[in-house]
């Protein structure tokens, strides 16, 4: 046997065109924010990447006022076909600057370059293209002959897919004639600010898009601003509940895309090798920092032993390390607090009697990393089965009958996504009809397409993003 190690194949960090400082984008220009500047780190090294100016209350007021003015005077009245031109231009430049954006995203977020290059940036561009195409066809969206925009949108997005989530909010909002104030996550503001630069280069009228970096206080100021007509939030369930409380009674529209604890149901007649790949992809994609991650594996007892052996063998091949290495499968955990949370929840799994198995892959000596981990012997009552870990940790439960699988899959406060693995079409449909989740994948997982609506049930939020249905949140029908 020949040991064959893949030599490191790092992408050049210089491609990111990293600048020492980044600033908020308000009313068509980059401004010195009035807030305390923050430093954004590279989670793979914990070194400072750049200093980022943050927004003060006044900056927020200015941004909302600019968005209102742009909405009323320019963007709202503009024919859809004209709005489409700007969006197409932005989508095209995102595709053209794909490599730069991918490297920047990987530096700021810690996700493997393979994923930012092959998934995040192309999907972001695809969403912008898709919505650009809707801009002059809104009358055909099934929401009335001439639907109107809702007005000024406040959007707060998470750190797990910084550019993609920005595109998910900006694309439909702008296509439908709204203007937007966007607050990227504290730890990952950079690609949203480059997107603002791209929008400015594309000639987008001032005020149509505003980007306000900052921490939770800036986010709270944005979503609570009474100058908004709609709030769109993607993030944790706790924050989502707070926003919902705050907006209750204001008449402002709200969509929430929150946490999840998705079940991946593997029946004994599944295409086992592909189910293994799907389970791996479901939980280890983006280090498990995915709200729709398949973090609960429900495997039929008759194939449990074989499946788990195949799964562990497959997980052993995952390469954890430098996110800029093109051969890395699992990158860095985005922040120290997030890593601490994963460590704590995994410890709870041990304490409650679940059996922990960890990939033997070596971890880098510095930076924020957590090895791919599987808990077996998990019971429904355990924290690792109930709470969203948001990390590379899989909990494995078993079932004997399809009814039991459904009962266990639905026994969660969440309902964002689910996976079903079977070669039998009728069983897949039977299961899909009973699983309470916004997205149900069969014989695949974590597939995103701008034409497919995405969103949750129960504590995973409400409202849909993407596709024809996704336009509804941004239009007065």
């Amino acid at each position: 046997m020949m040991a064959w190690d893949y030599a490191p194949a790092p992408e050049s960090a210089a491609l990111a065109n990293l600048k020492p400082t980044y600033r908020p984008f308000v009313d068509g220009e980059f401004v010195d924010g009035g807030g305390e500047p923050l430093k954004t780190l590279n989670p793979a090294t914990e070194e400072v990447l750049a200093e980022v100016g943050t927004a003060s209350q006044e900056d927020g007021d200015r941004a909302v006022a600019a968005a209102r003015r742009a909405y009323e005077q320019v963007w709202g009245p503009m024919p859809g076909a004209e709005r489409a031109k700007y969006l197409f231009r932005i989508a095209r430049v995102v595709a053209e600057r794909a490599r730069e954006l991918a490297v920047l995203e990987t530096l700021d977020n810690g996700k493997p370059i393979r994923e930012s290059r092959d998934v995040d940036v192309p999907t972001a561009s695809a969403h912008l293209f898709h919505h650009a195409g809707w801009a002059d066809k809104l009358g055909y969206a099934g929401l009335g002959p001439d639907p109107k925009p809702v007005g000024v949108v406040g959007a707060v997005i998470p750190w797990n897919f910084p550019l993609l989530m920005a595109a998910w909010k900006i694309g439909p909002a702008l296509a439908c004639g709204n203007t937007i104030v966007l607050k990227p996550a504290e730890t990952t503001p950079l690609t949203a600010l480059v997107l603002a630069e791209i929008a400015a280069d594309a000639g987008l009228p001032p005020g149509v898009l505003n980007v306000l970096p900052g921490a939770g206080d800036v986010g709270a100021a944005v979503v609570g601003h009474d100058g908004l007509d709609k709030v769109a939030f993607t993030g944790s369930t706790d924050v989502g509940k707070e926003i919902q409380r705050r907006l209750a009674g204001t008449g402002r529209r709200l969509t929430l895309e929150l946490g999840g604890k998705a079940a991946n149901i593997v029946y004994d007649d599944a295409p086992l090798d592909q189910a293994v790949d799907g389970v791996v992809d479901g939980i280890f994609f983006n280090q498990g920092h995915v709200c729709c991650a398949g973090s609960r594996l429900l495997v039929q007892e008759s194939v449990e032993e074989e499946f788990m052996e195949l799964l562990r063998t497959r997980i052993e091949t995952l390469r954890v390390g430098d996110p800029l290495d093109k051969n890395t499968d699992v990158g860095a955990i985005n922040s120290r607090p997030q890593l601490d949370r994963i460590v704590d929840l995994a410890a709870a799994g041990d304490a409650e009697g679940a059996h922990r198995w960890t990939s033997s892959c070596p971890l880098p000596e510095r930076g924020l990393f957590f090895p791919p981990t599987v808990f077996s012997g998990v019971e429904q009552t355990m924290r690792v089965a109930r709470e969203e870990i948001f990390g590379p940790v899989l909990s494995v439960l078993t079932f004997r009958t399809p009814d039991e699988a459904i009962a266990k899959a639905n026994n969660t406060p969440y309902g964002l996504s689910a996976g079903i693995w079977t070669e039998k079409g009728s069983k897949a449909l039977w299961t899909a009809q009973r699983v309470r989740a916004g997205v149900v994948w069969t014989n695949t997982f974590n597939r995103f397409d701008p034409t497919a609506p995405f969103g949750g049930y129960r504590e995973s939020g409400f409202g849909r993003e993407g596709g024809r249905v996704g336009l509804e949140a941004y239009l007065q029908a």
């Binding site: 046997m1 064959w4 030599a7 295409p271 090798d273 093109k326």
Partner: protein, 325 residues
């Protein structure tokens, strides 16, 4: 119709673990159709992901040498002559005369009537002689002719036999007939290694590839091979992946290591490295040896040698600086 399958010494695996599965046609069908399905979207997606592995620097040099050592340098043309075979053998021994550290290839693969020429030319080199037999490439002849074809190659000294399966029998569900034939050829091989060509381009999808792989393994194949090289598509990454899963599963079930040969259509170093990545990550690093993984190719060696020189010398080598056969 139920035919009784003859039970040779290797029936159902060398320790008889699968004796029930190969009892008769009906048992074989139940067993093969009871194997887990292959989802074509998933298998192609994994293959595409594996193909994005970036193999550079030392790992590339290592891969190039590994690939060279795994080649069955092949000439299977009606126009083959002893001279052509001798020249191929010379290259097989010493692929790059300017760089004696280049490993020799695994084997030279020829038609049975030329096996003797290759045996003579390769004497003492450690390079094996493989012969395609059994009415290659169509397999359309009587059992007696196929066995005689095999015997011809064995008598000439071939140490490896590449046989084709009867795709007609397989596609009509006569698994017992295919099984019997492999068993019979395996016996005719004696100590020679048997590679069973599934001709996956003529099978109906990945489920069939998995079933044919298992059928061949049950019947005693030492190596399962994708293609004759005469049918397109030949060795695609998803097909090789499914076959690698079959030998991996066979090993899990029996402890035995069986091999895979990717043949046909692999012409570039880049392509061969993608296959090596699949071997490494799907079957496992234990399969990264000429015993357990082969490339069947005629044009691949030239590109591997060129890429090897490029790695060492920092610039692309002229095609004419490398001795082609």
């Amino acid at each position: 119709m139920t035919t009784t399958v003859t039970a040779p010494s290797t029936a159902g695996g060398r320790d008889g673990r699968f004796a029930d599965a190969v009892r008769d046609d009906a048992s074989l069908r139940r067993f093969l159709h009871g194997l887990p399905g292959v989802d074509h979207v998933g298998v192609e997606r994994r293959a595409a992901t594996l193909a994005t592995r970036s193999i550079k620097k030392e790992s590339k040099l290592q891969a190039l040498d590994m690939a060279i050592s795994m080649i069955d340098l092949t000439t299977l043309e009606g126009a083959d002559t002893p001279g052509k075979v001798r020249s191929l053998c010379a290259q097989a021994r010493r692929p790059d005369p300017d760089h004696p550290d280049v490993p020799s290839v695994a084997a030279v693969c020829v038609y049975p009537d030329l096996a003797g020429v290759a045996v003579e030319a390769l004497k003492g080199s450690g390079v094996a002689v493989a012969a395609v037999a059994t009415a290659f490439p169509s397999g359309r002849s009587s059992r007696a002719v196929k066995l005689a074809d095999t015997a011809l190659a064995i008598e000439a000294g071939a140490s490896e036999i590449d046989m084709v399966i009867d795709r007609g029998a397989f596609l009509t569900g006569r698994y017992g007939a295919v099984y019997d034939e492999i068993v019979a050829v395996k016996e005719a091989c004696g100590t020679a290694h048997l590679k069973v060509i599934l001709e996956t381009g003529e099978l109906a999808g990945y489920d069939d590839v998995r079933r044919a792989s298992w059928l061949a393994l049950l019947a005693g194949a030492d190596v399962i091979k994708t293609s004759t090289g005469k049918v397109s598509p030949a060795a695609t990454l998803p097909v090789v992946q499914v076959m690698l899963q079959a030998v991996r599963d066979w090993h899990r079930a029996t402890g035995e290591h069986r091999g895979v040969k990717a043949a046909g259509g692999i012409r570039t170093a880049k392509d061969s490295i993608r296959h090596l990545v699949a071997v490494n990550e799907v079957a496992g690093p234990a399969w990264l040896t000429p015993e357990l993984f082969r490339f069947g190719a005629s044009a691949l060696l030239g590109d591997l040698l060129r890429q090897r020189r490029t790695q060492l010398e920092g610039h692309y080598a002229d095609r004419d600086h490398i001795g082609g056969a």
